[in-house]
Amino acid sequence: MPNSAKGTLYRGRQGMWSWVAHRITGIAIFFFLLVHVLDTAVVRVSPEAYNAVISAYQNPIMGLGEAGLVAAIVYHAFNGLRIILIDFWKNGAKNQKAMLWGVLVLWVVVMVPFLIRHLSIVFGGH
């Protein structure tokens, strides 16, 4: 039995919670993707219909939703790279916890400029 206080790769602590977050963000992104394919398909109906649908994405509440979506995508992307390293790099499993901190640092580094730009567009009254 491994020392459970430290957690294992997938059981307990960071290894497990990063996996839970990977599943939740993955499912959320998938359902958005289904909706997004259908809303984009409205370009085949008429310019007016597409503009009406897409204007729903341009109000401030949806703007916050887009921020949440991008936050989920960026986490899923970087944690996905961490999973690949765990599977293919020989020291991957040993360094999984350190790599999770790397994922979170990268997440902040990408999200800060994105949020400044996106929220100033959404709330900036263009």
């Binding site: 599943r23 993955g26 499912i27 992104i29 998938f30 993707l33 289904l34 394919v37 259908l38 984009t40 398909a41 370009v43 085949r44 008429s46 310019p47 007016e48 597409y50 503009n51 897409i54 994405y57 341009q58 703007g63 887009e66 991008v70 995508i73 992307a77 996905g80 790279l81 999973i83 690949i84 599977d87 293919f88 994105f114 730009r117 996106h118 567009i121 959404v122 263009h126």
Partner: protein, 161 residues
């Protein structure tokens, strides 16, 4: 008393339905590497999707006027270029298959009743096939300058009516 020279040891095989009195729900027919290829696909497509989706988000949400710039003319301008048609087509297929396989794994993990699992997966595969088909058709049959449309709403390259 005669002692057998060799003890009879039944070596468990992966195709056994019963091992040491415990029944396993194994299918003896499936002799392919589907799950290994699905696992590998998640990693390969994941890396490609990281590049495609980050590019998509940057161009559509951060460049120019961000989400406010998106309208029919914006999409027309992008899909008039084969580069963005291919970009979006590859992104659509890779992302839909990646997401479908991910949700399939989640259904297999949590839906314990056979019937529940079959129905959830049927719904998943039907929805995914529909989205892939519709998305692909839209990218290839899209007309950025539809006849009779308000020219104000179209891309700047559309000929004046």
């Amino acid at each position: 008393m005669a002692t057998p020279l060799k003890a009879q040891i039944a070596v468990p095989r992966s195709s056994d339905k019963t091992v040491a009195g415990v029944k396993y729900n194994r299918s003896g027919r499936k002799r392919n590497n589907f799950e290994m290829y699905a696992w590998l696909y998640m990693r390969v497509s994941g890396v490609i999707l990281l590049v495609l989706i980050f590019g998509h988000l940057f161009v559509n949400l951060m460049a120019g006027d961000g989400v406010h710039a998106i309208d029919f003319g914006f999409v027309g301008g992008k899909w008039a270029n084969p580069f963005w048609q291919v970009w979006d087509l590859v992104m659509l297929w890779l992302a839909m298959l990646h997401g479908t396989n991910g949700v399939r794994t989640v259904i297999d993990d949590y839906a314990e009743r056979d019937r529940t699992r079959i129905w959830l997966k049927a719904l998943l595969y039907l929805g995914s096939a529909f989205a892939i088909l519709v998305g692909t058709l839209v990218i290839f049959t899209f007309d950025p300058c539809p006849a009779g449309a308000d020219p104000e709403l179209l891309a700047s390259f559309c000929p004046a009516p």
